[in-house]
């Protein structure tokens, strides 16, 4: 679905404004995609957010404790099946996970192939060789990272950000922090829209490519205006809260209820965790 944040393709001039617009639009599109997916009718979407959060944390611990790659691979496969059962696009899901893993983990895992002592699998030069232990270590690291990111992605894609925040209440995160994080997320959207409009407005009045100095000045000016706007906004929001009776500490209401399906899912997670720890020890 095309969204409101797509801007005209005619803005093809590369530069600070173009990059900023692309980044803002990417951020908004990703957020919209996650929100849309979280509202689909799928297996994970029907489960209680608290259960999903705790289940993910349990499986993250399991993935990082077990030593058998096959067990971790099985959990990764399970995450892909769960993504499919939750109507999450597998292409997007797998791409999102592996791009992250390759950027942040593959580079770290690569040296392990060569520097870990052990049985030589491939002698590249007289002093550089790929070892079996090194290969296993790198594979284990990649599997752990990809499975962990997959589990986290499943939670984010099947649960709205606001529900994830509320679910954090079970981890005894204070209400005031949950409220503050929720409001931050809500207003990041507003400020992203404002930033988008500011850059578009500037883009529409620029007739030639900007020099580096001009770009820096533009960024500094935009940052200053945004800071000023956000300070004014925060002051007005506090007044709006005060107007409706807010004093010192927020009172909130929890409407989440566990159903039989949540308890069944909890049992499955526990059984899976125990079996994985036993088999993969």
């Amino acid at each position: 679905m095309k969204n409101n944040y797509q801007f005209s393709q005619r803005f093809q001039r590369k530069g600070v404004i173009h990059s900023a617009l692309v980044s803002i639009n990417d951020a908004l599109e990703q957020s919209i995609f996650a929100e849309r997916t979280s509202r689909l009718d799928g297996l994970l979407q029907r489960l209680d957010p608290r259960l999903k959060l705790i289940g993910m944390l349990v499986l993250l611990v399991v993935v990082n404790l077990v030593r058998q790659p096959i067990v971790i691979a099985a959990i990764y496969l399970l995450s892909v099946i769960l993504a499919a059962a939750s109507n999450v696009s597998l292409l997007v899901f797998i791409k999102r996970v592996w791009v992250t893993v390759f950027i942040f983990t593959a580079l770290i895992a690569l040296p392990a192939l060569f520097i870990t002592p052990g049985e030589v699998l491939w002698q590249i030069t007289p002093v550089v060789a790929v070892t079996r232990t090194g290969t296993l270590s790198a594979l284990l690291l990649l599997l752990r990272a990809s499975t962990s990111v997959s589990l986290a992605a499943l939670l984010v894609l099947s649960t709205s950000w606001n529900n994830i925040l509320k679910a954090m209440g079970v981890l005894h995160l204070p209400d005031v922090i949950i409220l503050t994080l929720g409001m931050t997320y809500r207003y990041i959207h507003l400020l992203l829209h404002t930033t988008n409009d500011m850059f578009l407005s500037r883009q529409s009045r620029i007739l030639r490519p900007q020099t580096s100095a001009e770009s820096r000045r533009l960024l500094a000016a935009t940052s200053g205006v945004l800071l000023s706007k956000s300070l004014q906004l925060s002051s007005d929001i506090y007044l709006a809260m005060e107007s409706r009776g807010f004093r010192d500490y927020p009172r909130t209401m929890d409407i989440m209820r566990l159903h039989w399906s949540d308890w069944a899912a909890a049992a499955v997670v526990i059984i899976l965790a125990v079996i994985s720890l036993w088999v993969g020890r």
């Binding site: 606001n162 409001m183 809260m241 009776g245 807010f246 927020p250």
Partner: protein, 251 residues
């Protein structure tokens, strides 16, 4: 706080002065009153001080000099620090901000609507009852789990109204309520405010929308560009005086 409303004055302002950062004048010697049950419009051009006036009536800003009485008692910063006074005042007065994005600070619509009743200490059963009632009254049940950034301008305004309706205030303060609304939503809003008035609520509207005055107001004040109340009268008296409207940058 005096709960015996005895008809008469909900608000009474005498020679109120207010300035931003104690320098930029927003109100210069404003004296006015608001009767119980009336729909009062404060008409003024941009920058005349309408929003500041509403925030003073809502106990969010406090005058540099002059006095403000609400329900027969002094409305001061000190008075609002008292829990009982604050509770009574906030339960009775609701302010709808001009910019809905300021007012809709909670992550979802249902949390926005329950915020006020929860802060006022109502129990969960009563809060839930008010939530459902407000959602039904504003016909926004389908929006209950939406985030504010997923709403249109008209929907945001309805949620902002629902967030005040759930407090069940005796007094509605509305800052430029029709700003940015399409004609259909504007017509709906006028009917909504009429219904609130018929139910006994007092309504104070700050606006420069003359159509709103014509269709809704019982009485009108004009706030000049010098930040002073220059005229008060009935909508017909005010709207028929073209020189007056032109002088105050209203037509």
């Amino acid at each position: 706080m005096n709960t015996n409303t005895e008809t008469e004055k909900i608000f009474e302002l005498k020679d109120v002065h207010y300035a931003y950062q104690d320098k930029i004048p927003a109100l210069s010697g404003v004296s006015m009153y608001v009767d119980q049950g009336e729909i009062l419009a404060v008409l003024g051009s941009n920058g005349s001080g309408k929003s500041s006036l509403l925030k003073i009536l809502d106990g969010l800003y406090f005058p540099i000099s002059g006095s403000v009485k609400a329900f027969g008692e002094d409305l001061t910063e000190t008075a609002l620090r008292d829990w009982a006074f604050n509770f009574a005042f906030r339960s009775k007065v609701g302010l709808v901000f001009q910019d809905s994005d300021v007012q809709l600070f909670m992550p979802t619509v249902w949390e926005e609507i329950t915020f006020g009743p929860l802060q006022l200490g109502l129990d969960n059963a009563e809060v839930t009852r008010r939530l459902e009632s407000a959602l039904q009254a504003l016909h926004i049940d389908h929006l209950r789990d939406r985030a504010p950034h997923q709403l249109s301008g008209g929907e945001k305004k309805k949620v902002a109204l629902a967030s005040i309706l759930s407090i069940a205030p005796q007094v509605w303060l509305l800052d430029e309520p029709t700003a940015g609304l399409d004609p259909r939503t504007t017509a709906w809003l006028i009917e909504f405010l009429k219904a609130q008035s018929l139910a006994g609520s007092t309504v104070v509207i700050a606006t420069h929308d003359l159509r709103l005055i014509e269709t809704l107001a019982h009485r009108v004040y004009i706030l000049s560009e010098e930040h002073q109340i220059t005229v008060s009268g009935s909508p017909s008296q005010i709207l028929s005086n073209r020189d007056l409207l032109e002088k105050n940058n209203l037509c």
